[in-house]
Symmetry: C2
Subunit: 348 residues, 2 copies
Amino acid sequence: MSGHKPSPLAVDIRRVAAEAGVSIATVSRVLNNPSRVSPQTRERVLEIATRLGYRPNPNGKRLRKGRAETIGLVIPSPPGRFADSFFLELLAGLGEGLSDAGLDLLVATCPPGTEELGCYRRLVEGKRVDGLVVARTRRYDERIAYLLAQNIPFVSHGRSDLISTPYPYLDVDGQQGFYMATQHLLHLGHRNIAFIGAPRELNFATHRLAGYRQAMLEAGIPIRPEWLLEGDLSENSGYQLAQILLAPPEMPTAILCANDLMALGVLRALRERGLKGGREVSVIGYDDIPQAQYTDPPLSTVHQPFRDTGKRLVEMLLARLGGAPVSALQEVWVPELVLRGSDGPPQP
Amino acid sequence: MSGHKPSPLAVDIRRVAAEAGVSIATVSRVLNNPSRVSPQTRERVLEIATRLGYRPNPNGKRLRKGRAETIGLVIPSPPGRFADSFFLELLAGLGEGLSDAGLDLLVATCPPGTEELGCYRRLVEGKRVDGLVVARTRRYDERIAYLLAQNIPFVSHGRSDLISTPYPYLDVDGQQGFYMATQHLLHLGHRNIAFIGAPRELNFATHRLAGYRQAMLEAGIPIRPEWLLEGDLSENSGYQLAQILLAPPEMPTAILCANDLMALGVLRALRERGLKGGREVSVIGYDDIPQAQYTDPPLSTVHQPFRDTGKRLVEMLLARLGGAPVSALQEVWVPELVLRGSDGPPQP
DNA sequence: GTACGTGATGTAAACGTTTTCCATACCTTA
DNA sequence: TAAGGTATGGAAAACGTTTACATCACGTAC
């Protein structure tokens, strides 16, 4: 019992050619290299092709061209998937540009126990993709090292510090972002500013921390080690760490969080203690996730334009596939500090 | 300036055959139909194939077999993308089963302005996928109608009411879920239960509403029209509608929300008015998104096993591709009511 | 001893494109 | 008018598989 039969009359290039009274070569040329064929026949073939609803079979094309006409994105295994909206926005941005270029987007999620690199191997060594987008870069990123070694085109969202060979990336400058955020708090008069960071192996963790450090250093304010914590980017983690920070004897007057989710947790902890974010304690997050507008108080944060990022990443990858040199494909964007209600001058 | 060169020595089936001293047909058989070849040669070929790291070129295979070896998922355009974690969990579940089966997952996101059906057309008429997963079904779902008409295998997450031809689906019974939730509230003594629903065209909206209606009917409690609202599933929408419900003269003692995000909004509205969820007003959501555990109070809700759903959807789709009859591929799961802190007996 | 099934392998065709090479006809130019 | 360039289109090879069919050797049954 066969579940489905293939479409009754597959209309292939032969059919179009026959109908138009030309060779298949001509039909192919009309579609891929229109200038190589006379206007009259071009029109005729085109008309017939659309009338018949002809769509070149992608597999034939791919085989002949030796390309997959597909780019890949590997989504890390979900235990540790803390940024849902990030990936979906990115996906949306990627998809948009790709379908315009006639490319497909292959998404692989590596199963929980699996080595992430294995997913990449499968995709590139199995010739399933022409290029890749690498997200959530780590400080030393073996994925990037691997792709460089294989000499396969890719672009990375975020840099990887400890890799010497240049490669294309698009990064939003987390250092700058948190430099601005910290400076803002300093200008408001804060001196006791705590920092809840991200896991060290993630590259942006280092950058955001560096921004905080730089601002504090410039202001001549020493950083208390007990106010320098590291969370796992989950809401709950922010909540837990806030408990530590808010315990006596001395509380910070402001808390900087490496992402919004943790900031949400901090706000929850404040609320439970009857403290109001933005009054007793200022809180600033990073990412500007959708919920950030609706917290109580609305969360001040550093905005990342994920969607635009995705779109640009596609452009860069396309350029790379087209042979553009790496040096032209390294961008660092400056993020924007979005002040809502969760920051304010310190209580006297 | 070419961005990258293809791998220096592509190892194809010919190479393996030559190395093993057999014909390419034999190599192919070893990989696809091992019983057709003698144990000795099978071993030898296998050994050589792995030593050389041979991977059949997917495009050759796909062309010959006339299949895409890919299944598709269309993610709706993000304005209106209210369930981030839903799609990512689903993706994770799908991906897991698929890579085991050697299939790829093609994800298309239709650009904001675009007709969603167009994405489906592109995928199936362009022969880019062998099958599809349809998510977030609508009451009359043109996508399902289209796929049925095209006779292309698919499974749907959720049913579509107004389509007569049977098709494979996996649904979590929202009616049952909210029937249980409402009954629970009734048992607690609530009589004034409001309902914030989802947009009517979404199929689960109808189901969840029906569960509420059924329980109220059985209890002999008339439903007040002013307590029957419809939101857009966003957190903010829940917040706005709660303002209406909480306005004098008379407030409901419990509010049922068609999804957790809106329930979060309701909790926020309560908080702002100094009311405590679960004491003054009970709130129950639907979905059990990650944040639900961490709200204040923790949100009582109806749990949907998205990940398992994704895994099962793949199994069903595979079965369908293998020719299983539709009648064996229709499942309705019973969800689980998860009681946390946001429900309780009504205030006297 | 001939005929025949059977198991193992090879040959070659096909899948649907793109692209290289040729052939033809035309136009230009000396 | 001959020579050579240019525009146009066709024939055929190639991309890397899978699979229908042919071949061959061998054991078995009569």
